[in-house]
């Protein structure tokens, strides 16, 4: 089992994915940590984020390099895609909802065995998406997962 990290920074807004973790054809990811913040000039902007499973992967966007927590470890099988992108097709229900002021930094950590698991298949994965926002705050996200 490998443990990996990936980070991406982009503007939030209405239904915009910040970062999506896509399964491979045979390997799933288990997301166990999220850190959401902003490096922009401090301002009061409220944004609602949701972590949601997707059943069709996004397109274009930014290819984000995954980093193993152990440099000796093999490269990740799952794929990271950063926004702005052609949006994936998401499920209706979210897995985690975060409403956040741009000034705040939010950290979520799963206990072992309670991670968000993706399903196999390159079309499947999970993405953190800004659902609505009072502006277009730049958002930084770090995601950690095991596979």
């Amino acid at each position: 089992m490998g443990s990996y990290y990936g980070s991406h920074r982009t503007n939030a807004g209405t239904n915009l994915t910040i970062l999506a973790l896509e399964s491979s054809a045979s390997v799933v990811g288990k997301v166990h940590q999220l850190v959401i913040g902003s490096a922009a000039t401090p301002a009061d902007v409220a944004t609602r984020y949701e972590l949601i499973r997707h059943t069709t992967a996004g397109a274009s966007g930014t290819a984000v390099v995954e980093k193993p927590s152990d440099p000796q470890m093999a490269a990740a099988s799952c794929n990271l895609r950063g926004g702005t992108m052609t949006e994936p097709t998401y499920e209706a229900d979210f897995l985690l909802e975060v409403s956040l002021n741009q000034r705040a930094t939010y950290t979520w950590i799963a206990n072992p065995g309670r991670e968000f698991r993706t399903t196999v298949g390159t079309a499947n994965g999970v993405g953190l998406r800004s659902i609505s926002s009072g502006g277009t705050p730049q958002t930084s996200l770090t995601m950690a997962w095991d596979e």
């Binding site: 401090p42 059943t55 399903t119």
Partner: protein, 89 residues
Amino acid sequence: MSAYRMGRAAGYISIVSPDHAPIERDTLQCVHCGGHWSLEPGSGKQRGFCMICNGPHCGRPGCWNCVPLEKRLEELERRAAFAAAAGLQ
């Protein structure tokens, strides 16, 4: 610091902001959809407990009937495999 902590939590959140003291919350995980939420006493949100899975569920409409998380994930995977085999993806 504002904190709601509990035993047998599924996760933990921390919010640090210059506007207020750090907030810490434990989270529970829905046994049906896998979603996490933090307890907010007095929020009025209706959650549930599945006697079959022996765990809490988030209370969303799709989670009141017992479909265990693993079964749900398997269904999603079968659906994706079928779509791929049928050339729909």
